[in-house]
Point group: C2
Chain length 426, copies 2
């Protein structure tokens, strides 16, 4: 891994290090646009043709209801793991339940703010190399708590046209109404517009490859009228460590993000003089035993080490980088965590492995990558709500505020706005 000395870097060089490997969305938009248009015009037929082309199978039926008793065969230890993960995710997200806000801003003017669930949500679960029920737990549990009326799950079919039992099992746990056996941009387009067999949704959430992300981005700007959770890039982690940190833990945490894909990026920020060679040896040693060692090796090529003089510089770099996952595994980690400004999720201390958050601590693993942690939050219970404000004025309240409103309406040359006040008080 390349190594940089923080104190010798210019501001421009730091910016350069914080820039992720380029995602060329423009070219992906060019491929995804026609897929969206095809699904918009031909509905199910287009989804089936595209699924045949990309996944090599024509699922029949394309979508189906979810059984509401989880009698789907999954192994006992897996069911138990799901149960624990579900419980922790449920606890942490239930605690986020919004309270109604009521404020009397002036005598006779009562303003309030209430939350209402988004009616129909589409949860996208990638397929590809493995089955990913954890993502369905992360999206489905808050959707269920929020009370979304219709939860539609979309995931690419397996070679035989079916969906893994673990996905069906979790879909049942979270109260999904429907599973769509399609993936890629075609699944996103079908959720956005609706087809004969796939319900149209109001918001689409979930991770995916660049085709899925590009489809979400294009559709949020289209007449399909949907919102999305956030733009998604390759997974990433930044580890802050010092000479007190166990090199084996550091190496394991870096590798656990590197295995997500060859375009993942992992960054080690080391405070003070550390034995970086030992850490790199640990990485090599652990990597040999991994089934995806070719993937991790490629990801490590995108990755680097920054050596800083102190914890303050380390956090300054981390905040500028704005990592999806931030592991603070150094002396004074808890205190340092109070100075985090930009990150998706933070893992504090030696025992907080990042994979705990991926599955079961209770926090959500759908997080902003690519530096988007500067302006986006990860998925939370709030991702499934809209907030609506209300106001109720008494006649006295209106009288008290009338001069303010009419003066400002006059200034903005909005006669009718003024008239709506004066006519009431005549």
């Amino acid at each position: 891994m390349k190594k940089y000395l923080y104190s010798t870097l210019t501001s421009l060089q730091i910016d350069e290090l914080c820039r992720r490997p380029a995602m060329d969305f423009e070219s992906v938009f060019g491929e995804v646009g026609p897929i969206i248009e095809d699904v918009r015009l031909r509905g199910d037929d287009a989804v089936l043709d595209l699924t045949q082309r990309f996944d090599g199978v024509r699922p029949d039926p394309l979508s189906g209801p979810v059984s509401n008793t989880p009698e789907i065969p999954v192994q006992a230890n897996v069911a138990e793991a799901f149960e624990t993960a579900y419980t922790n995710i449920f606890r942490f997200h239930k605690a986020q339940y919004p309270k109604d806000l009521i404020v009397e801003t002036m005598a006779g003017i009562v303003c309030s703010r209430v939350a209402r669930p988004i009616k129909r949500v589409g949860l996208y679960i990638p397929g590809g190399t493995a089955v990913l029920p954890s993502s369905l737990l992360m999206l489905g549990v808050p959707a269920k708590i929020a009370g979304c009326e219709e939860i539609v799950v979309a995931t690419p079919p397996r070679a035989d046209g079916t969906v893994a039992p673990e996905i069906e099992y979790v879909a049942s746990l979270i109260g999904a109404s429907c599973i769509v056996k399609a993936g890629g941009a075609q699944a996103i387009a079908a959720l956005a517009y609706g087809t004969a067999s796939i319900p149209k949704v109001d918001k689409i959430l979930g991770p995916g490859n660049r085709y899925v992300t590009a489809a979400k981005m294009l559709l949020q700007n289209s007449d399909a009228m949907i919102s999305i959770d956030m733009p998604a890039g390759p997974s990433e982690v930044l580890v802050i460590a010092d000479r007190q940190s166990d090199p084996a833990f550091i190496a394991a945490d870096l590798l656990s993000q590197a295995e997500h894909g060859p375009d993942s990026q992992v960054v080690l920020v080391g405070i003070g003089e550390m034995d970086f060679e030992k850490i790199e040896e640990e990485i090599s040693r652990q990597n040999e035993k991994l089934s995806r060692s070719d993937v991790t090796a490629k990801a490590l090529d995108n990755s680097f080490i920054v050596e800083t003089a102190d914890a303050r510089d380390a956090m300054a770099f981390a905040n500028r980088y704005a990592p999806e996952h931030l592991i603070i595994n150094c002396t004074g980690a808890e205190h340092l965590s109070t100075t985090v400004k930009n990150a998706g999720s933070v893992f504090i201390g030696p025992w907080s492995a990042e994979s705990v958050g991926d599955y079961a601590s209770g926090t959500n693993h759908t997080l902003p990558t690519y530096g988007y942690a500067r302006m986006y939050s990860g998925v939370s219970l709030d991702s499934f709500f809209k907030h609506i404000t209300m106001q109720r004025l008494s006649e006295e309240g209106l009288k008290a505020i009338a001069a303010t409103v009419t003066t400002m309406a006059e200034l903005e040359a909005l006669d009718a706005h003024k008239n709506a006040i004066t006519i009431r008080l005549q």
Copy 2:
């Protein structure tokens, strides 16, 4: 105004009524794309050339700092109105201040969620026919409360290249750092990419015409790395009334939205038999006296009346339409307001004129239009924060969750995720 009887409408006909006058964003994207590209490549020079072309002036300087004492000359009654509006908006948004959340999901696993301000925000204030300081209050007050470090205001220059004193005054009140004298897509692009004289921001908020909105939409999908508040369409109101409602109030409220622009839409939902003719007479009578009666007349052409049998049907239609502004001015308004599912902001009872919320009740007037209230919230204090989750495990906590995490990592074929746990517990 066209009139429909709700009980005779098919579901498809209701969908048709809920569809807004089409916004053809594709063609606007075609015009806006080259403007964005020009600003990205040529920076200030492009912004100045485009401002010359669209606003007929070359402001010098293009941007400047905001004085931090409001010694800008505004009329005393205007300053007083700003003060009242500021205070109410401040109270309502301050009450939204997020509390840190801490949940011990299992013994030894402490999860938390904290809010951090978005560092740099760009607030866009349209110019055009009038000066709109109210929009700057609505965006600037929550930005200030959240603690955004850099608040950049952009607004089109007047014919003489300056900005209205009322905008400068409010910019000072909210602690803005910089005013950019540019508007349109060129201003949005400059905020997104940054130029020599205009700071790059992380999020862009504020209303605007279709060029501004199109620029925000394109840039949220670009390498500029920004987020936006929401897509914006023409302003709209839906009024629920019955025979107890004063026809003059109904007419005034419909007109106050209609005056926003010829593409605004206003809808009256009347419960039971009502004297609709009298309301239309009131509209004509009041409209004659308005300075923008030509605008309102065009907006009324887009507008319609729906007559329903009861309050339940009225709210069913309103929830399906998802209006930006919902006025409930009928018998039992307060109770009916508890059944609102989709709306930007709600005005309850006869004294709650919509223009009160536009200026000074305390709620935000930056709201989802065009049916986007189904999946977007209006601007709130939360629009200026990101939420970051954290977790801290003790060794016991990790032991308790280890089997869950390793089982799920195995199922998802993520060896290194499993290894990050097992290596810690060896």
